[in-house]
């Protein structure tokens, strides 16, 4: 198991800059999720740790050792890719044996069999062992590919969107399985995904990557409740955080150009939040609530019923606001409602830079 550090990594492909000044610290035994949109540089980061790509600048450390000149084999990592990369024409068992069979570090046959069987049991693919890999379903293939990673005892597991090609049910099941597996092995995991639900539910720590830069690193709780900037706020969470332009006037949040006011006083007040400064108010949909005596009137624009809850889109003037309400709330489209927010949960961002005032210090 290992501790991974990336120091000031930059990577360019020709004219295209994939990563700039990236710093990352993944603790031993941590489940670290790298979250970002397609093209943010997640895969590049992962390939650099694996040794498949060399950084243009900066250093990669594994357990404190600079591994710049180490090949993929010496780094002793396991990589699970989105496209499975199973070896064609071999059975599942042969695929699982593959990493154990090279002559240099050939294990005794009994040991190989034992490890393969154990991995197969963990991933529940024992019944598939003698099947050819091209006769497997997507989920089965991905399990085999994870199995090929765990038969070895690598120092780090690197996973590049391993679940994104699977259907929803299976994705959920494998998500739990992977998390359990990581805890069981006590292994260091770096998991790359664009799916914020995966990031929130699996990660001990989440790093949000945007345009080749780490925007924020923290526990899912921190990322969710105290996003560093408006990008993280709008990227993490489904539905995303409501972001409304406005300013503070005498302890009230005055939304302009939307023309409504909400009370805003007390603990949430941050040092930089002076009266009149242009701000962006961020409020999670679940912290917006409907109440008959609430200060602002809106119309229900849309209702999405999710079973456990309903997600309402409220229309104030021509602005839209999302609110999560209990499923039994009875609302109809175009019905006028009144809403308020929980001022303690409001996050303030600077209008110009988009940075969270609490992070700006």
């Amino acid at each position: 198991m290992a501790h991974i550090q990336l120091k000031n990594i930059s990577k360019t492909f020709g004219n295209h800059t994939a990563l700039t000044g990236l710093n990352l610290d993944i603790g031993d035994g941590e489940f670290f999720v790298l979250l970002g949109e397609t093209g943010a540089g997640k895969t590049t980061t992962l390939r650099m740790i694996a040794g498949l790509e060399k950084p243009t600048e900066g250093q990669v450390f594994i357990d404190g050792v600079d591994v710049a000149n180490w090949g993929a084999a010496e780094r002793d990592v396991a990589l699970v890719l989105q496209q499975y990369s199973l070896y064609p024409r071999y059975t599942v068992r042969q695929n699982l044996e593959f990493p154990l069979k090279p002559k240099i570090r050939r294990l005794p046959d009994a040991e190989i069999k034992d490890r393969v069987d154990r991995a197969a049991r963990t991933l529940r693919i024992e019944h598939l062992l003698d099947r050819k890999t091209d006769r497997l379903s997507g989920g089965e293939m991905q399990r085999v590919s994870i199995g090929r990673a765990i038969v070895r005892k690598p120092r780090v597991f690197l996973m590049d969107e391993p679940l994104s090609a699977l259907d929803a049910k299976l994705r959920e099941a494998l998500r739990t399985e992977l998390k359990n597996l990581q805890m069981q092995l006590g292994a260091t995991f770096l998991f790359v995904t664009h799916d914020q639900i995966e990031a929130m539910s699996m990660g001990d720590k989440v790093g949000v990557l945007n345009h080749g830069r780490i925007v924020q690193t923290g526990t899912p709780y921190e990322i969710y409740n105290n996003p560093r900037d408006t990008y993280v706020a709008s990227f993490v969470g489904s539905p995303p955080m409501n972001l409304i332009d406005g300013k503070l006037v005498n302890g009230r949040a005055v939304m302009a150009p939307l023309n409504f006011e909400l009370p805003f006083e007390g603990r949430a007040k941050t040092s930089g939040a002076t009266d009149g400064r242009p701000l962006v108010f961020g409020i999670r949909p679940e912290d917006v609530y409907l109440e008959s005596g609430a200060p602002v009137e809106a119309r229900v624009h849309d209702v999405e019923n999710h079973g456990v809850e309903k997600i309402l889109t409220l229309r104030v003037g021509d602005a839209m606001l999302r609110a999560t309400v209990p499923a039994r709330t009875d609302v109809e489209i175009e019905q006028p409602v009144r809403f308020a927010w929980d001022p303690d949960k409001v996050v303030l961002f600077d209008k110009g830079s988009g940075i969270n005032l609490r992070h700006a210090g």
Binding site: G51, A73, A78, L79, L81, Y87
Partner: protein, 301 residues
């Protein structure tokens, strides 16, 4: 059904403007080819099958007599014919194995990022484009014991390549390898570049060495297309005539098609040579069938 579709005339097409239907156009292109095929391929094939059961000699005015399977019987009992087949088999094995090793080897070397790769590949393909007769003639010069460049570069003195009965067949095979390795190379290159890169990356991550990666990943994935190259080259080598005929006239290089040529056009045993031609045809078909069966098995795996 296709005919039905084709007979309907698209009123806007240019052919319609000229008063020709699509069907007419199609026939205009296809019928000459079919006529050509029938006159020069199918008809002689069937006609010679008929001759193979007679004692016909094209050099004599005597009428052909039906002799049944006598030609076949005699040919298959002729030890000289069998020695011709043995020579042919030896030639096929040496030349095809050589071509696969050289061609696949060069393809492996080319299958990476090297400068001028395109130009290099094109240049390497040139031998394949030459005419057999030309290749035969200038390799004869290259092999020449007194002034040939091969002996000069290898420092072999006046080593006899083509007039040495033990060496001549190999000399022909080497020429064939020189000429046709590019073909194997081209197909291998196509096969190699079709191996997905992420498999190599996965193997590198799995800490597989380069030999292990080659035998466990590269080779099995290139095998089907390599097999196709082998089929083509075996068929061609089996019926080699020009190279061997031009380069040497040793009895040890008398491959089956040279024997066939001599039988037909020097000894004028027309009926018998037709029978021999059929025997060769059946053999090639049989070999090809074995290969194709094997190819399907390789593909399935």
């Amino acid at each position: 059904m296709a005919t039905a579709v084709m007979t309907t005339l698209d009123p806007n097409s240019r052919s319609a403007a000229r008063g020709m239907s699509d069907l007419t156009i199609r026939n205009l292109f296809i019928i000459p080819t079919i006529v050509f095929l029938i006159v020069f391929n199918i008809f002689p094939l069937i006609y010679s099958l008929g001759y193979s059961f007679t004692d016909f000699r094209a050099s004599s005015p005597a009428a052909a007599n039906f002799v049944g399977l006598q030609n076949y019987r005699e040919l298959l009992n002729d030890p000289f014919i069998w020695s011709n087949f043995a020579i042919t088999a030896k030639y096929v094995i040496v030349s095809v194995v050589g071509q696969v090793i050289v061609g696949f080897g060069v393809a492996l070397l080319l299958n990476r990022d090297i400068p001028l790769k395109g130009l290099l590949t094109t240049l390497l393909l040139l031998p394949m484009m030459l005419s057999m007769a030309v290749v035969g003639l200038f390799w004869k010069l290259l092999y020449d014991p007194s002034f040939g460049i091969i002996n000069y570069t290898l420092g072999l003195g006046s080593f006899e390549w083509l007039s040495n009965p033990d060496m001549a067949l190999y000399a022909v095979a080497i020429t064939d390898i020189w000429m046709w390795s590019p073909f194997v190379m081209l197909l291998s290159l196509a096969g190699l570049s079709a191996v997905p890169k992420h498999l190599y990356e996965a193997a590198a991550i799995d800490r597989a060495g380069s030999f292990y990666t080659f035998f466990r990943i590269t080779l099995p994935l290139v095998a089907p297309i390599l097999m196709i190259a082998v089929i083509f080259r075996t068929m061609e080598a089996f019926k080699t005539f020009d190279l061997a005929y031009i380069l040497t006239s040793q009895p040890t290089t008398e491959v089956i098609s040279i024997r066939l040529y001599k039988m037909a056009f020097q000894e004028w045993q027309t009926g018998r040579s037709c029978a021999l031609a059929y025997i060769v045809l059946i053999m090639i078909l049989a070999i090809t069938n074995i290969y194709v069966k094997y190819l399907n098995k390789v593909k399935e795996r």
